[in-house]
Amino acid sequence: MSALKVVIIDYGSGNLRSAEKATARAADDMGGGEVLVSNDPAQLASASHIILPGVGAFRDCRLGLDAVTGMVDALTAQVIGGGKPFLGICVGMQLLATIGREHGDCDGLGWIPGEVAAITPADKTLKIPHMGWNALQFDAAAHPVLAGLRPGDHAYFVHSYGFRADDDADVLAHVDYGGPLTAMVGRANMIGTQFHPEKSQRFGLAFLKAFLEWWP
């Protein structure tokens, strides 16, 4: 096992401070490691773990990521080519999809086939955004990142669009909100959470630690 070096990708989206601090806390819990917020694609080559955060609209995030010269290529090389453990958070997770439907269609990275579409609960009294703490139900409890965590624990969500995976096997966890909503997707060395681990207190830190301990 090589040394832990987490790179959190800075592409002008979201509150990177929270992601950085929570990841650093999780790293400290396991003996320390380097946690770097960077917009330099070259840093990905020496990363052991890569985190792509993201808040706001799908299209804005996609454009923001594309605007960082060389970042998508570096990500593709390290995550798809190099097989490095990757975590997408919120819109960072949604970008894994083939296409996003928010404010018009926009291509995602297409690494986990599916679309990101508006949440439309059958129960019209349910509020949008889906905002707050919801209980996670694990669809893949044996996944290395979920294995040590407790199903039923709550994570913090805030989103109006959700990930609809083409293949059910790519959905690792969901929550109930007038029907199932995708809470976590994963395939090979990639995972993505609709919830915000950096805002999910004890559970969130345990989740981040489990991600950092994952060397697929």
């Binding site: 905002m131 919801n134 805030v158």
Partner: protein, 257 residues
């Protein structure tokens, strides 16, 4: 199932807690960050800082409070008070706030809410509405007030709430100025009228004195979250007691803190 959120609110003046928990074991009870840590550990679902600093010079202190809180507390934080332009929002978000609450600036310039939602996303734009009962042609109506309930705007509150949602607010923080500080319970009629009129979540605020009031706010007021200051600050009830009471009443709350 989505849980009802319990949100303690801290009033902060020039970087110091004005109305806060009176815990003897705090190193510095006036430090908002110390109090935020307590609420984080106690399992509060979110935290709200209300910056009541009147002087312009004291304004920057809130950024340091938010920054230090975000370094230590891994929970959602909303900051309200004095949010007047896009730079205010950007600076608060960069300091580590997750949401910003816009109050007076929404009344003086409603399009600001739309611009803010477009720029930063609806998820971080809360519109705070201070409403009061008024007599309109012999009938009770709800009207929007500013400046802590002192200044009348003539704006009818339910239509205003709908407009804010349409402009892109992600959430409403609704305070009954009639009930604020009374401990007589939420204005349930007001809360329900607004919550039922908008597709976005409504946080009920103003008037909590007992734990049953919290339950009523959700069950009868249809609020998605309940905010309180005094009952937590003065130690009348803890977050844990509040959640246990709401769970016993059959509401969904997060106990796995």
């Amino acid at each position: 199932m989505l849980s009802t959120r319990i949100i303690p609110c801290l009033d902060v003046d020039k970087g110091r807690v004005v109305k806060g928990v009176n815990f003897v074991d705090l190193v510095d009870a006036g430090d908002p960050v110390e109090q935020a840590r307590l609420y984080d550990a106690a399992g509060a679902d979110e935290l709200c800082f209300l910056d009541i600093t009147a002087s312009h010079e004291g304004r920057d202190t809130i950024f340091d409070v938010v920054r230090r809180t975000a370094e230590q507390c891994f929970m959602p934080v909303t900051v309200g008070g004095g949010v007047r332009n896009l730079d205010d929002i950007r600076n608060l978000l960069l300091a580590g706030a997750d949401k910003t609450a816009i109050n007076t600036a929404a009344v003086t310039n409603p399009d600001f809410v739309g611009a803010a939602a477009l720029k930063f996303g609806s998820q971080c734009i809360v519109v705070a509405i201070d409403a009061k009962r008024v007599d309109r042609d012999g009938k009770t109506a709800f009207e929007v007030f500013t400046h802590g309930g002192r200044r009348e705007t003539g704006i009818e509150a339910i239509g205003w709430a709908q407009r804010m949602a349409e402009l892109g607010a992600g959430e409403l923080l609704l305070t009954s100025m009639d009930r604020d500080g009374t401990k007589a319970g939420f204005d349930l009629e007001l809360t329900r009228a607004i919550a039922d009129a908008v597709p976005i979540p409504v946080i009920a605020s103003g008037g909590v004195g007992t734990l049953d009031h919290m339950v009523e706010g959700v069950r009868e007021g249809h609020a998605s979250a309940v905010l309180a200051a005094s009952i937590f600050h003065f130690g009348t009830y803890s977050i844990a007691e509040t959640k246990a009471h709401m769970r016993a009443a059959g509401l969904e709350v997060r106990l796995d803190i």
